[in-house]
Amino acid sequence: MRIREPFKLVAVGMIGFWLTAFALLPNLLVVIASVLERGSDEFVAFALTLDSYRRLLDPLYLGVLLDSLWLAGVTTALCLLLGYPFAYLLTRMPARWRPALLLLVIIPFWTSSLVRTYAMVIILQTNGWLNQILLGLGLITEPLELLYTEPAVIAGMLYTLLPFMILPLYAVLEKLDRRLIEAARDLGAGRVTIFRRIILPLTLPGIIAGCMLTFLPGLGMFYVADLLGGARTLLVGNLIRDQFLSARDWPFGAAASTLLTGLMLLLLWAYYLSSRRASRGALP
């Protein structure tokens, strides 16, 4: 190979610099800020303390944390429950329809989740569509107060995050080797056994990736909680936002954010382990 490779140097140098300066360094600063004290003039005072993390355990904030984990958890579970059969059925569709059907999932994946959350507001508001339909069908006599409730927040998150679950699931399900399933069937395995012993382990990386892509944003999407959940602090995202915007308690906000980063790394690690296992299992 050549000794001097200016092109390589420039290409690697630029991405290396950018990621160090705008991804690695900022996240390090967050961790540092999280163990500093709250400042009076500046945003932080340079004294080490774990106080911010201790305050996360304060019942007031712990409640928000648990609520948020619950909401994101329910949303993720619903996404998986609805998305898995959907992604599976997509892979069973005739090959010539599949690109178009897939595109119909990709489109909402890329469109603004704010706009889609707003669309959900239109559907759910008191004189909105859903109430009109339910009234029209005679199922209810009074319009329901759907907006500014927890189910509304879940519906909104489900709506904006479902494509993020479907796409990684589709990716693993499409690669699934059908011969393995046939072999298992020939060997006398039932449907449940086939799913549990073959399909599930092989699609686990996609499941974890999908859960990661729905669960983590589910903790953070403060505008969904604002628009559909009303004024209460529902999500960790709202908590973090308020620390930086109104409460001006940066170390505390940084601590909550570090918690999210830790959770992400944990999920990434699970993803890594499962995809290693799945690729080993797929070998003939």
Binding site: M14, I15, F22, L25, L104, S112, Q132, L162, P217, T261
Partner: protein, 257 residues
């Protein structure tokens, strides 16, 4: 068997309905000739007209377009070169770089937003145009890398070797062979970056200042005050632009070479 087939189709339609119905309602009501009523009162362009008569809003839309264009262009430059480097070379720190790109893509927006906010404040950069641009380039880069890399992996390595044998320098090889073959993916990466940048709320929320307003944040502050037909119209335009760009990007990515 037929019954099962029908049930399958019904399920697919149900989920597609869930994904598209709210958007359709939004679009339909942006043309409804009534400010408050849900009932269809006839077709109107009034709400769109109102948007275009608002000089403030036009300025904000222009700001967003500017940021999206610049950030997509820079991110596409850096991201494409990075993808080529990741494909072509072994170098110190390569696994670290790959995992950083992956982690960056997975990072929740809010975490990235406050991390960049803390960085910019520590550097005493005033929040506004420049901080917004830097942030948008940052979240666009991984998407460009992934888009381009997925195309590169299907490459014929012999073409590159042939160019080398014929005496091409590294720069010539990349410029004459690699980049032309990559163009569709590069263009798709640019378009996807542009839409990401046009639509971003969360990162921008933290890193922009009062001096520089962009469309998604403007919409956010409007939406918090309630539903109006003007917002419906604005959101419909945003959807239309995004839809168009995604369609072009997908066509580019799936074009058979």
């Amino acid at each position: 068997m037929n019954l099962r087939g029908a049930a399958r189709i019904a399920y697919l339609i149900l989920i597609y309905g869930f994904l598209y119905l709210p958007i359709l309602v939004l679009i339909v009501y942006s043309f409804n000739d009534s400010k408050y009523s849900l009932e269809w009162q006839g077709m109107t362009w009034t709400w769109y007209q109102n948007l275009f008569d608002d000089p403030d809003l036009l300025q904000v839309a222009l700001n967003s377009t500017l940021i999206a264009t610049l950030s997509a262009t820079v991110a596409t430059g850096i991201g494409t070169l990075a993808a080529v480097a990741l494909y072509r070379y072994e170098f110190f720190g390569k696994p670290l770089l790959q995992s950083l790109i992956f982690v960056l893509m997975m990072t929740p927006d809010i975490v990235m937003g406050i991390a960049l906010l803390i960085l910019f404040v520590s550097l005493s950069l005033p929040l506004g145009f420049w901080t917004l641009l830097l942030a948008h380039i940052t979240f666009n880069i991984p998407f460009v890398v992934v888009t381009v890399l997925s195309r590169i992996s299907g490459f014929d390595r012999h073409l590159i070797e042939a160019a080398k044998d014929l005496g091409a320098t590294e720069f010539q090889t990349v410029r004459r062979i690699v980049l032309p073959l990559l163009m569709p993916a590069v263009a798709a990466g640019w378009l996807l970056s542009f839409t990401l940048s046009m639509d971003d709320v969360m990162v921008s929320f933290f890193v922009t200042g009062p001096t520089f307003e962009i469309l998604p944040l403007k919409i956010y502050s409007m939406v918090r005050l309630g539903v109006t037909p003007e917002i419906n119209a604005l959101c419909t335009i945003m959807l239309g632009v995004t839809l168009l760009l995604i369609l072009i990007a997908q066509l580019l990515l799936h074009e058979r070479s």
